[in-house]
């Protein structure tokens, strides 16, 4: 049994579902939940319900990403953790890469399965075409887990809060000057359990409203294909695929997306793929699970109605 740290991500003092999945990935181990910048007491019950034996709060505040890595490293040493898992979110991937570099320990990013006892993980190579089984050798096992691949399962544990002061300083290499807030309230694409994507057939930026109406009914995020981004219908932050985001939701609904190889490279590990396209010969229909041949401006509103 490995004494395993789990980096818990929160939003407005609520634990993200993706972090609960990471707790489940470590089921059977002695679990130390490390909570960044949230009140441990506020999330204690939920963490205990999903298997946290110990809970540690790490206050970073507005420090640089290096400071967070130093604080995690201090906690790993203090509690003799032999493994540390997190979410392969934008923040998690960055933080774990800094942590692994700082401690000079191996790291595997974006795993789809993890075996802590044998130190073997599975992850995508070549944009989802290949799954690599990797053996990780080293005293500390670090990995981030792709969001939504592990369904959270409750496994009650004691959830004892430990007081810990990292006592580390920001190395001062990277200074955060400003955080420009996005529109807010938007679900992060890489972590969304359901994604509705609009391709070139969306025809205009304002037509994304139709997809947002559909998405908001099912707690989905809205994405865009490269063609739609290049045409100026959507910002690059919404792009799914190579040179955009890699996503792996439970349900991916592609609306008016032709299905280029580069698009599949970013979403082919989705559990269920639905395609709606007017062109019955669109490549997307050869690699999806369910298809509807039709005009997205008729099908999507009808679908929204039924959801």
């Amino acid at each position: 049994m490995a004494r395993t740290g789990i980096l818990i991500e929160t939003e407005n003092n609520e634990i993200k579902d993706t972090s609960l999945g990471v707790l489940t990935a470590a089921a059977g181990q002695e679990i130390y939940a490390l909570v960044l910048d949230a009140d441990p007491a506020a999330v204690k019950d939920k963490l205990a319900e999903y298997g946290a034996d110990k809970i540690i709060g790490l206050k970073i505040g507005s420090g640089s990403p290096d400071l967070a890595a130093h604080a995690l490293s201090a906690a790993i040493k203090e509690y003799d953790l032999t493994a540390m898992l997190g979410t392969a979110s934008a923040e998690g991937k960055d933080l774990f890469a800094r942590l692994a570099s700082l401690m000079d320990q191996p790291l595997v990013s974006d795993c789809v399965a993890v075996n802590l006892d044998d130190k073997i993980v599975k992850k995508s190579h070549f944009s989802g075409k290949i799954i690599a089984n990797l053996k990780v050798n080293g005293p500390l096992f670090l990995c981030t887990i792709r969001p939504n691949v592990i369904e959270p399962v409750a496994a009650p544990a004691s959830g004892e809060i430990l007081e810990f002061i990292p006592g580390v300083e920001d190395p001062g290499l990277v200074k955060i000057l400003e955080i420009k807030k996005g529109e807010g309230g938007k679900i992060d694409l890489t972590e969304a359990p359901v994604i509705v994507t609009g391709g070139r057939a969306i025809k205009a930026a304002e037509n994304y409203k139709m997809l947002e109406d559909c998405a908001s009914k099912i707690g989905a995020a809205v994405g865009a294909s490269r063609a739609a981004v290049d045409a100026g219908y959507a910002p690059h932050t919404m792009q799914v695929g190579q040179t955009g985001k890699t996503v792996s939701p439970k349900l991916y609904i592609a609306c008016g997306v032709s299905g280029a190889v580069q698009h599949f490279a970013g979403m082919k590990t989705s559990k269920v793929i639905v395609a709606i396209n007017e062109d019955k010969d669109a490549p997307i229909f050869t690699k999806c699970d369910y298809g509807i041949v039709g005009d997205i401006f008729e099908v999507v509103p009808a679908l929204t109605e039924k959801l």
């Binding site: 934008a90 570099s101 990013s109 070549f126 944009s127 799954i131 990780v136 690699k287 509807i292 679908l303």
Partner: protein, 256 residues
């Protein structure tokens, strides 16, 4: 200023990967290209040097065939290159960073280092961080905007949930590039011809004192992911189709 760009030679995303043995793949018949994210790094380095003066040095850890990818970056304007030769496509991130560091130290450390945000073959997303740590340099990854003024580099990156972070680093530093940073140029014919005459220095990994067999992340087995096929096409009126789809997603697939 001297800028190094780490460039990886990777299979084209459209290539179909045929496995060979437990941990390898057939690479002789598929097309290889520059890792797409690295091209944003090449473009940024070349345009900075066009403004500030200096040189752009490509540093690649790869098989001998990577020369074709290096020539492409030279056609975009890089001045010379160092190829650290390895026998396998796969070298773990830690060893790759050690090889890049050793090659750069031998050549003289640069003022700035660009990499892509990650490579599309092994998708490890960490070599740039390890390189920066070993050189004591700051690093920011997934950079989509950059300005350089008086030795200070201000970069912008996307944070989660649509937020953007603006960060500042001093030179020398490491920047992981992604889409948005610039639009990589298409080399013109004379540039392609000129690139053929530019110097590529080849070094064996072992000559840099790096043991290629000492990796701590080892591939035990590669498995092909079966492609989806035979999609269920829904039939009937639009109303029938969406009604059936919702029923399937709720009751059979249980994803809603």
């Amino acid at each position: 200023m001297k800028i190094c760009v780490c460039l990886k030679h990777v299979p084209d995303t459209a290539a179909s990967i045929k496995l060979a043995g437990d941990a390898g793949f057939e690479d002789s018949e598929i097309k290889f290209v520059s890792n797409p994210y690295d091209e944003y790094g090449v473009e940024e380095a070349v345009s900075l040097v066009e403004k500030e003066g200096g040189e752009v040095v490509i540093v690649t850890v790869g098989k001998a065939a990577a020369v074709t990818t290096i020539r492409g970056a030279m056609a975009m304007g890089a001045h010379r290159a160092i190829l650290v030769k390895i026998d396998d496509q796969f070298l773990d991130s830690s060893l790759t960073a050690q090889a890049l560091k050793a090659a750069m130290e031998q050549d003289g450390l640069p003022d700035m280092i660009f990499t892509g945000k990650g490579s599309v073959d092994t998708e490890s997303f960490q070599t740039q961080y390890r390189l920066a740590q070993s050189l004591g340099m700051p690093v920011v990854n997934e950079v989509n905007a950059l300005s350089l003024d008086n030795g200070k580099v201000v970069v912008e990156k996307e944070a989660g949930g649509g937020d953007k972070q603006v960060m500042e680093m001093s030179l020398p530093c490491v920047v992981g590039a992604t889409k948005g940073l610039n639009e990589p140029r298409y080399p013109k014919f004379p540039d392609i011809m000129k690139a053929k005459k530019k110097k590529i220095q080849e070094i064996d990994l072992a000559d840099l004192g790096v043991d290629g067999a000492a990796g701590s992340v080892v591939i035990e087995k590669l498995e092909t992911v079966p492609e989806r096929s035979g999609a269920k096409m829904l039939q009937g009126s639009v109303d029938d189709q969406v009604t059936e789809l919702v029923k399937i997603l709720k009751e059979d697939e249980k994803v809603l």
